[in-house]
């Protein structure tokens, strides 16, 4: 539960990162995802990145959805 939205990491400074959500920028803590890199997308919850978005899986989910709806059964 809880609001967590995908945010793009624009810069990193120690335990802090600046992220961009649809043009809105905010400083967040990467204490829970120290391995994150600039250009990654993270799930942002209450000012912290709680996980790194798996972009390959994201693509795969969309592909799966499109395939599922074109099956007739």
């Amino acid at each position: 539960m809880c609001l967590a939205i995908p945010a793009l990491v624009k810069s990193i400074n120690g335990r802090q990162a600046e992220v961009d959500v649809g043009g809105v920028r905010r400083g967040v803590s990467i204490w829970l995802t120290p391995e994150v890199k600039v250009g990654d997308y993270v799930l942002l919850h209450t000012g912290y990145a709680i996980n790194i978005v798996d972009e390959a899986e994201a693509k795969e989910t969309l592909r799966l959805l499109r395939e599922m709806v074109s099956q007739t059964e």
Partner: protein, 334 residues
């Protein structure tokens, strides 16, 4: 002169007089104000529209405007929403002791530019200063007078089934712009308050001769608040389509970040108009030719079903109720 406002500035003595004559009067030169009488005396013919408002926005300066601009635009808009041509404003200040003079000058300059832009005159005012802690920096109270042209009869109770609902542009910018500056919520981005005077847009719309039934600016309570008011006052239902409502991407993003619904966020430079279905296209076209109505869109219609209720068709085709927002918008986590 001191760089902070002192209690003495509000007490009517020399310091008060200096403050007003050096900082306010030069900005608003007009025959009525220059008389400096206790009341401005003038003649007006016709039906009058009269409104009052108080502005307590915090912070005083925000992206896209400040409390001064807001005070003028808000008052002008209240008059314009009754179809009135706004003419005169009063501006009364309640200043907290210690408020920086430079900030006050900046706010008053905003009042001046906004008044010029809207073609209204500030003809009377008042200045009080209260103890530190008794006001949040600066409060502004205004009153405004305008004249309603003959034949113009606009009321929130006039919506009829079949009427079209039109919004003059993208929603949610003002509330988000102000939120972005609050302690504990800080974020930056391209979102600026849409604060603007809508009287000329309204004049354009009235000039089309289209049958405009309801007109309101969705300020506190947002678009949801205004549509619910219309539905309740008119005893009709309103149906809108989610995909038709214009919202900037950045506003969507900020709303997601904070957990707000754009329909509940305040606007200060937009209007909602309910217009007879046969006149909708021509009013819409006129709106789009105005700088402040470029992104006007028809977002729904008035219906006989579910009187008093606003229902929105979501992108998946199902419907949900759009209710009045309750109280202050609080950012949420879950």
């Amino acid at each position: 002169m001191e760089d902070k406002i002192l209690l003495a500035h509000g007490s009517g003595g020399k310091l008060s007089h200096d403050l007003i004559s050096k900082n306010f009067l030069p900005l608003f030169r007009n025959p009525l104000l220059d008389k400096l009488d206790d009341a401005a005396v003038f003649e007006l013919n016709g039906r009058l529209a009269f409104t009052t408002d108080s502005y307590v926005v915090n912070p005083v300066f925000f992206p896209g405007g400040d409390i001064g601009k807001l005070a003028v635009c808000g008052t002008v808009n209240d008059l314009a929403m009754s179809g009135a041509t706004p003419l005169y404003l009063s501006v009364a200040l309640v200043i907290e002791e210690g408020f920086p003079l430079a900030d006050l000058q900046r706010v008053m300059k905003s009042v001046q530019s906004a008044a010029e832009e809207a073609e209204v005159q500030v003809i009377t005012g008042d200045t009080k200063v209260v103890n530190r802690g008794s006001a949040d920096g600066l409060f502004i109270n205004t009153a405004g007078i305008g004249v309603v042209p003959r034949g113009v009869d606009i009321s929130g109770a006039s919506a009829r089934p079949g009427d079209r609902v039109v919004i003059s542009g993208t929603i949610g910018e003002h509330g988000i712009a102000v939120m972005s500056q609050r302690e504990g919520l800080r974020f930056s981005g391209s979102i600026e308050s849409d604060c603007a005077s809508l009287n000329k847009l309204v004049a354009d719309m009235l000039a089309t001769g289209g049958r405009i039934h309801c007109l309101r600016d969705p300020t506190r309570g947002g678009l949801a608040g205004t549509l619910n008011e219309f539905a309740a006052q008119s005893g009709a239902g309103i149906k809108i389509t989610e995909e038709a409502i214009p919202v900037q991407d950045a506003v969507h993003a900020a709303c997601e970040l904070l957990g707000f619904d754009p329909l509940h966020v305040a606007n200060e430079g937009k209007l909602v108009v309910i217009v007879d279905r046969d006149d909708a296209e021509k009013v819409l076209a006129k709106m789009r030719r105005n700088r402040l109505g470029k992104q006007s869109a028809i977002i729904g219609e008035v219906v006989a079903e579910h009187p008093g209720r606003v229902v929105m068709e979501t992108c998946l085709g199902a419907s949900r109720i759009v209710d009045m927002p309750v109280g202050e918008l609080l950012p949420r986590i879950c």
